[in-house]
Amino acid sequence: MEIFRHIGALALGRVHDAAGVWRIIGGAVASPLVKFRKGRRVFWDVLLRQVYFTGLEAVPIISWIALILGFIVVAQALSILPKLGGASLVGEILVWVVVREAGPVFAAVIVIARSGTAIAAELGSMKINNELTALELMGIDPVYYLVVPRVLGTAVSVFVLTFYFEAVSILGGFLLAGFGGSVTFYAYSSSILDAMGLVEASVSILKSVLFGLIIGAVCSYQGLQAERSITQIPQKTTRAVIRSLTSVFFLDAVITSIFYM
């Protein structure tokens, strides 16, 4: 009996957390429209800072990983395809791997590692230090001021980083394919353009925006769950990372099965 009670409590906890995350996402999408005038200057300030830290500062690490991934995918493809007479498919394989899957997922994972942890730890620390109450005492809505710009800033950053990742990855593959001499630049670029359709681009946009919203909301929610002690901050940060990763991979599987199966 005890085990059922435990499982039930666990399931209810997860449902409660999921509801909290979706409330944050709903609020984040609606807030800039509903509260367009109130506090918009400080709202934009926090949002731009979030884009700077999450997006711009992640460019070097994203560049390296994207370049290496493009290089690896093309190297693997070139080790097999010429034997099968399909060397010209290398660009298509790169699009299938990078644009459909790796771009949004890698950008999301890097943002979780760099910024998701920072969001959860910062909000947790602010909550424990009573800074959220201090904002309320100034007549400032802490969710609108702290959470909404972080969620939207993360979504914008993941969206931009995903397309940057895909572009650099294709460039990395292009360099190897071209200079390796196995495929001509013309054949490579033609196969990429052939494989890149409206569906690939749209699904990539959908994934990146949803991943960004989910990461921002999950990490903010977990940060705000810290209540009593400073030791809760690393616990909530770890949970934010695990829950964000799980949500991103689950959502990725759902979107992929809807659009590509």
């Binding site: 200057r41 009573n130 800074e131 109450t133 201090a134 309320e136 005492l137 100034m138 007549g139 400032i140």
Partner: protein
């Protein structure tokens, strides 16, 4: 002098079941300087949270600027707090904002004042509070006294009608206390529209604001002290 804060027959039971407040009524008017003394754990913080609209009593009503806080929406409560300078809950500063940004935050959030003008006003408030450090540093490492100076400057940014300060003198030297309470007395200036409510565990701190009324929490009620 109009009534700015009014408690009507408020009651609250503590976690241990004892009555913290039992049928308390209190009226605070514009122009008053009120000093409230009570030992730690007697419900002083709770009283201030009711006045700030952060929490509500189990029974009774709390009216601020003539409105029952329990009936106000979050937006109206926030608008109400803009008319108050609340130096409660350890006067916490926002850790990821610089000192001057902390001070300018209410101006930038609640008003249409241009950024440059808001920063200049914040700088002026900091100077008047006696702050002599670097306004572009983060507040984390600042000493407690300096944090309180910045908190006062921030609380006065929107030119409030009511200032409530909780344990402002705690942990400070007599000279530092005198300076900080002097800032609040300077703001009040005997204006008939302004209310200053200061609380402390030490009755001797009353002399620092020269109060017109002295209150103390006794038992589960609030009594006038003479």
């Amino acid at each position: 002098m109009s009534t700015l804060i009014e408690l009507r027959d408020v009651s609250e039971r503590g976690e241990d079941g004892r009555m913290v407040f039992d049928g308390v009524s209190l009226e605070l008017r514009g122009g008053e300087r009120v000093f409230l003394t009570a030992p730690p754990g007697s419900g002083k913080g709770l009283l201030l949270r009711w006045m700030a609209g952060i929490s509500m009593p189990e029974k009774g009503t709390v009216c601020v600027f003539g409105k029952d806080t329990a009936r106000l929406s979050a937006g109206v409560l926030n608008a109400m707090r803009c008319r108050m300078g609340l130096l409660v809950l350890n006067n916490v500063l926002i850790s990821n904002l610089k000192v001057i940004e902390n001070c300018a935050l209410p101006l930038l959030y609640h008003t249409e004042m241009p950024y440059k003008e808001a920063m200049e006003k914040a700088g002026g408030l900091l100077s008047r509070s006696g702050f002599t450090g670097d306004p572009w540093e983060l507040p984390g490492p600042l000493p407690m006294y300096v944090k309180k100076q910045v908190a006062i400057a921030r609380a006065l940014a929107l030119d409030p009608e009511v200032v409530i300060c909780e344990n402002m003198g705690e942990g400070l030297t007599e000279a530092d206390k005198e300076h900080l309470f002097g800032l609040l007395l300077g703001w009040h200036g005997g204006a008939p529209s302004r209310l200053l409510l200061a609380t402390s565990a030490e009755a001797a701190d009353a002399a620092l604001i020269n109060p017109g009324r002295r209150l103390r929490i006794a038992g589960a009620g609030i009594a006038e002290a003479h």
